[in-house]
Symmetry: C2
Subunit: 163 residues, 2 copies
DNA sequence: CTGTTATAAGATATATTATAACATTCGCCC
DNA sequence: GGGCGAATGTTATAATATATCTTATAACAG
């Protein structure tokens, strides 16, 4: 259907093929939902797809506007319910400091990563940051704190934009 | 004025004298504002005092309700402007994951700490977490990311509540 | 004192984000 | 096809935040 990138060409400067990104994320989501016996309904699938249109964080009401061509009757609850589901399944992250949502690029694994949020291009990079998490765990131990969920959100300029 | 705690008594179980907390925070705020040549006006001072009533994060509209006996004409903008000022001066932190605000217990020094947010008692503990910040800095270096501001917010149970 | 500038606060309206509550429909099992 | 729970439709409203325009006040220069 779409012209695929020639796999023989060296592509040193293009860090990723976004179509592939989206495809992988959706396939993974479908797989995980089947495995877990939960329903990735049409609306939920559409919302996930809309979130994955870019690596930028998307606002709930932006999603609402963008889903209307597909779901004419969509209301805020339509979006928030889909988001609740996707968050519960770990398929998207909420970016607390933006009141926005971004696709999770590692839905299979552990969650609670480091989010690097670019002020310029608005893209959000997710990183496991294993060492950070480990040192953080030690800090909790010292503080006598039993952590349930963590959000590490950093605003700044990404590699591309820092020039 | 207030009965001071006898410094000779061992106080093993009371971790802090909150009146002292508040007093120190307000004095520090006044000092810093003078040093910086910015105005800690009556409204700003009152808002800061209200925020320091406890170590819980406070919502903007709670502050609005609570400032009305003092400022009958207060409107949302009254509070948000005061909060903007206090945030800019590093005198309070915004807790992104709660849309709420908490007094900064180290206004003098560096900012961007780790916030440990208790689900039970709702108190927020602020920690410098120097080692975490250092490892995080290394992570940014690897990612080629130029960090401007960070928020590390962890929800869970604090020492007192974890039992 | 008076004009000028800058900052703060008052006032009104509105934008943005999120949830509650209840009705209806859908998919599935029996 | 009847019953059940999950998902969605629908309406209303709550909660959070900002924009804009006006008025007041302080600091300072001429
Ligand atoms: Zn991509
Ligand atoms: Zn960027
Ligand atoms: Zn205290
Ligand atoms: Zn607690």
């Amino acid at each position: 259907m779409n012209t695929p990138a020639d796999p023989m060409l060296p592509v040193p400067e293009i860090p990723h093929n976004h179509k592939q990104c989206v495809h992988d994320a959706l396939k993974m989501a479908e797989l995980l939902c089947v495995e877990r016996g939960v329903q990735l309904t049409a609306i939920r699938h559409q919302v996930l797809e809309l979130i994955w249109e870019s690596h930028k964080a998307v606002k709930a009401y932006e999603l609402l506007d963008r889903i209307r061509p597909l779901q004419a009757a969509a209301k805020p609850a339509t979006i928030y319910r889909a988001l609740d589901f996707l968050l519960a399944q770990g398929l998207v992250h909420r970016v607390e400091s933006l009141n926005a949502f971004v696709g999770c690029s590692c839905s299979g694994h552990q969650h609670e990563q480091l989010l690097l949020i670019c002020k310029q291009c608005e893209e959000v990079e997710e990183r496991m940051a294993a060492e950070v998490m480990q040192v953080l765990a030690e800090e909790f131990r010292q503080a006598g704190f039993a952590a349930h969920s963590k959000a590490i959100e950093v605003h700044g300029l990404c590699k591309k934009c820092v020039g």
